[in-house]
Every structure is written in structure tokens, then in C-alpha cells.
């Protein structure tokens, strides 16, 4: 297969950046999108040109490293998939493909298609955990959890932190990311002691990082490779309102 690629090139975070056009030929239809870029890069290196920088690692859709904005969509034209799990057979021979980095104020471009997503880690730092020290846990089966609750917690916990929700959102909101963690821990008895503080602090950090507001368009859930449902956001909203409106029974 043959493609014309319009790729965003940017030397570093200070550089203005611009699109450049490349031709790539002989791409097998079963190659992944990243393997197509590998083929392009091998060609560029041989021609003495600068290869395109892009993030990737596990190439099986779980590490959350890869993330390209392809033809106007986060992770490309298919819903609920990572870039590494997008295959060239989903494109037409001869297509022109536009590739941009994920764009958001809290995601500054490092080079070409590589962006800094550490803002997401800082949201987790504010409470995306249960404060338990190693060694202090009771026997695992002393905390029975109804299967439906455990299953829902799992569904929320599968977020891979790729940032596609932010990239797809018209406001660059990180609500789905934040909500997935809030909802995961809200489902579990272990998550209750810190539940109020968690949601307040994580939302505050989300705002501080400069993410936009959520307007419930649902674009995030369509692009989310982990299929985090929108009801995670409803859960966050509910917890946030509850945490702020009702008095904390344990407050001094």
C-alpha cells in the first residue's frame, strides 16, 4: 500500500512547528500504524533525513505510550483503540493521512509527535490511591466485595492513561481520566475513608494543570481505548457534589 503522510514536525518545545509531506510505499496491509511509521523512518534515515519522533512502547494497546491524532481523531479513525492497534488495512491505498500530536495546554509538545503527559500523573498524586503502607493489610478475604461492584471497579480501573480523552475533547478536559480513578476507588470499601478528599483534590489539580471543562459531549468515551464509560463522569460529579454539599461526618 502507498500513502501520502502529512506529519507535524517540531524540533523541540520552543520551535513553531509545521506540517511536512512524505510518501511511503510498500506498506503491508497487516502492518500496524506504528509499523508504517517505522517503515517511513527507516527510509528517512537512509535518505539522510531526520526520522519522525513518536511515542510507543508495548505495541499491544496497554502501556498508553502511543497517541497520535490521525485524520482528525485521537488514535485514528476507529473508536476505542490505541494507535498501535490500528492496522493499515483500515485505510485505503493511496490515502492522504494527516498526523498531529495530541494537543492540549497541559500536554506541551516535546518533539514532532511526542507530548509530555505528566500532568496526568500529578492528578493521580493528589489522591488516586488508597493510603495503605506495605505490610499493614489484613487477609485478602476479610474484605468481601460484591462481584458487581468489583466488576465495575475493574471496568473503571482499566484506564491506560494515554490521554486520548483529553485529545478528543473540544475543551481538552481530563474528566474521563480523573473520573475513571475516582469511580474505581468509589466502588470499593477500601476507597471510602479518603473518598471525599480524593475527589476534591483531584479535581482541583485537574484545573490547576489547565485542563478544560467537561461539556458532556462524550467524545472521550468514543475514543477511549479502555472503553471507560461516561457514567464514570456521572460518578465523579455525584461524589464531588456530595463531598462539597454534605457535611463530613468525621470532621472535628
Amino acid at each position: 500500500m502507498r500513502f501520502t503522510l502529512r506529519i507535524w514536525r517540531q524540533k523541540n518545545s520552543q520551535d513553531e512547528g509545521r506540517f511536512e509531506v512524505y510518501e511511503v510505499d510498500g506498506v503491508p496491509p497487516n502492518a500496524s500504524f506504528l509499523e508504517m511509521l517505522d517503515i517511513l523512518n527507516e527510509k528517512l534515515i537512509k535518505e539522510g533525513k531526520e526520522p519522525v519522533a513518536f511515542d510507543h512502547d508495548c505495541r499491544e494497546g496497554i502501556c498508553g505510550s502511543c497517541g497520535l491524532f490521525i485524520n482528525g481523531r485521537a488514535h485514528g479513525p476507529l473508536p476505542n483503540i490505541t494507535t498501535c492497534r490500528l492496522y493499515m488495512r483500515h485505510f485505503k491505498d493511496g490515502d492522504t493521512i494527516t498526523i498531529e500530536p495530541f494537543r492540549a495546554k497541559p500536554f506541551p509538545v516535546i518533539k514532532d509527535l511526542v507530548v509530555d503527559r505528566s500532568a496526568l500523573d500529578r492528578i493521580i498524586q493528589k489522591g488516586g490511591y488508597i493510603s495503605v503502607n506495605t505490610g499493614s493489610a489484613p487477609d485478602a478475604n476479610s474484605i468481601p466485595i460484591p462481584k458487581p461492584a468489583a466488576d465495575r471497579a475493574f471496568d473503571y480501573a482499566t484506564c491506560i492513561g494515554c490521554g486520548a480523552c483529553v485529545a478528543a475533547c473540544k475543551n481538552a478536559s481530563a474528566m474521563l481520566f480523573t473520573a475513571a480513578k475516582v469511580a474505581h476507588l468509589a466502588m470499593l470499601p477500601q476507597g471510602q475513608p479518603e473518598r471525599r478528599q480524593r475527589v476534591k483534590r483531584m479535581v482541583a489539580q485537574m484545573d490547576l494543570e489547565g485542563f478544560g471543562h467537561c461539556s458532556n459531549t462524550g467524545a472521550c468515551a468514543v475514543e477511549c481505548p479502555a472503553k471507560i464509560p461516561l457514567k464514570a463522569i456521572a460518578q465523579l460529579q455525584r461524589d464531588y457534589i456530595w463531598a462539597n454539599l454534605t457535611p463530613d461526618p468525621h470532621a472535628p
Binding site: G72, P106, N216, E223, K231, A234, Q235
Partner: protein, 222 residues
């Protein structure tokens, strides 16, 4: 490393502001129902007697007058918050995408919220000037019914009215669901289905109810 300040009033966070949007929005939705019920009296073939009585009641009853203040406040807050979001929208993404295929992952209604909001805002201004400022504040010699009849027999005004109602439908189609989602009321898939259906039915029927009236008056002039 950046640290978050928890001293900020929760209603000033993006999530808090969303809640304000939702509460005022859902409040305005209930008002729409009341307003529509009254307006439909225009369709009664009694020369406007019932409608005028209703209009009289609405403009003199003290309880309604108090609610009216709440209604104004609701509008102002909803509009203020909406404008805040519109101006803030770009802040999360100062540099936009060269190619953005938003229709692949969002509904037409959610994408046109800004447009529908602006049209409804213009409509609201014209509407208020016409029926509230001129009639109530300045005191028009005409009855409310006559005023409406006169307005709706003007094809330009009616066309503007109908177009505004179409955009109101758009606004409701997303806003109705969004309000429930923001208040965290969508607790499971079943509730989500009910709300989504409810939103569709509401967003279709209510603006349709409003739009029928000018069309009815226009047809009568033919």
C-alpha cells in the same frame, strides 16, 4: 511542582461551574413547560379570553412575581456561566488541530451548543423587548393576545420564531441529558437510556409546541 489550593470555593472549579450550568439549565427547562402550557391557550378559539386571563394572572400574582425574579436570575447565571465557558474553551487548547473530525465522536447537538445558545440569547432579547418591556414595563394599549396575534401574523417574526425554536430543540437535545449527567443522576445504563429518550422526546415536543403557534396564526392569515 504545582500544588492545588482547596480554599477555592468549589463552585469556581470547572466541575462546580458545570453544576451551576446544570442546575440553572434544568430549572429553565421546567419553566419552559409552564410557559408552553400558557402559550397553548393562544390556540383556543375564544378570541384570547383564556390567554389574556392567564397573562393577567402571571403578571399580577405575587408568588409568580417572586418566581419571576428567580427565573431572571436563572437566565442570567446560565448565560454568564455559558459565556464563561465559551471564552474559556480555547484555554485548554491554545493551538488547535489542523484537521479535527469532531462529527465522528460527538452529536450534532453537542457541537452546536454555542450556536444554539447565541441564537436563543438573541431570541430572548427580542422576545423580552416585545412582550415584557413593551407590554409590562411601558404599558401597551393592546391586550397580550392582540400583541401576540400581531407579532405572529408578521411572517418575518414568525420565521425568526420558528428558527429559534429549532435551535432551542438542538440546545435541549444536548442540554437536557447533559444536566442529568452533570448532577450525577445517570447511575446506570438503564437510567441513561431513559434520560436519553426523555431528552429526545422533550427536545422534540416542547419546541414543536411553541413553533405551532406562530404557524397557526400565519396559516389563519392566508
Amino acid at each position: 511542582m504545582k500544588t492545588a489550593s482547596l480554599a477555592v470555593g468549589w463552585l469556581h472549579t470547572t466541575v462546580g461551574r458545570k453544576v451551576i450550568m446544570a442546575v440553572t439549565g434544568l430549572f429553565l427547562i421546567t419553566f419552559l413547560v409552564v410557559h408552553l402550557a400558557g402559550n397553548l391557550l393562544l390556540l383556543r378559539n375564544d378570541g384570547g379570553a383564556a390567554f389574556n386571563a392567564y397573562a393577567e394572572f402571571m403578571s399580577t400574582n405575587p408568588l409568580i412575581r417572586i418566581l419571576e425574579i428567580a427565573l431572571f436570575a436563572g437566565f442570567i447565571i446560565h448565560i454568564y456561566q455559558g459565556l464563561y465557558f465559551i471564552f474559556r474553551e480555547r484555554r485548554g487548547r491554545p493551538k488547535g488541530y489542523a484537521l479535527n473530525d469532531a462529527k465522528a465522536n460527538t452529536s450534532l447537538f453537542s457541537r452546536t451548543m454555542r450556536l444554539s445558545a447565541l441564537v436563543i440569547l438573541v431570541f430572548l432579547i427580542v422576545h423580552l423587548k416585545h412582550f415584557f418591556v413593551e407590554h409590562r414595563l411601558l404599558g401597551s394599549p393592546m391586550s397580550m393576545y392582540e400583541l401576540c396575534k400581531l407579532a405572529f401574523e408578521n411572517p418575518y417574526y414568525s420565521a425568526f420564531y420558528v428558527v429559534s425554536m429549532v435551535l432551542l430543540a438542538f440546545h435541549l437535545a444536548h442540554g437536557f441529558y447533559s444536566g442529568f449527567q452533570t448532577l450525577g443522576l445517570i447511575v446506570n445504563r438503564r437510567v441513561e437510556q431513559i434520560v436519553r429518550w426523555g431528552a429526545a422526546v422533550f427536545a422534540f415536543l416542547v419546541p414543536l409546541g411553541f413553533a405551532i403557534i406562530p404557524i397557526y396564526f400565519l396559516i389563519k392569515t392566508l
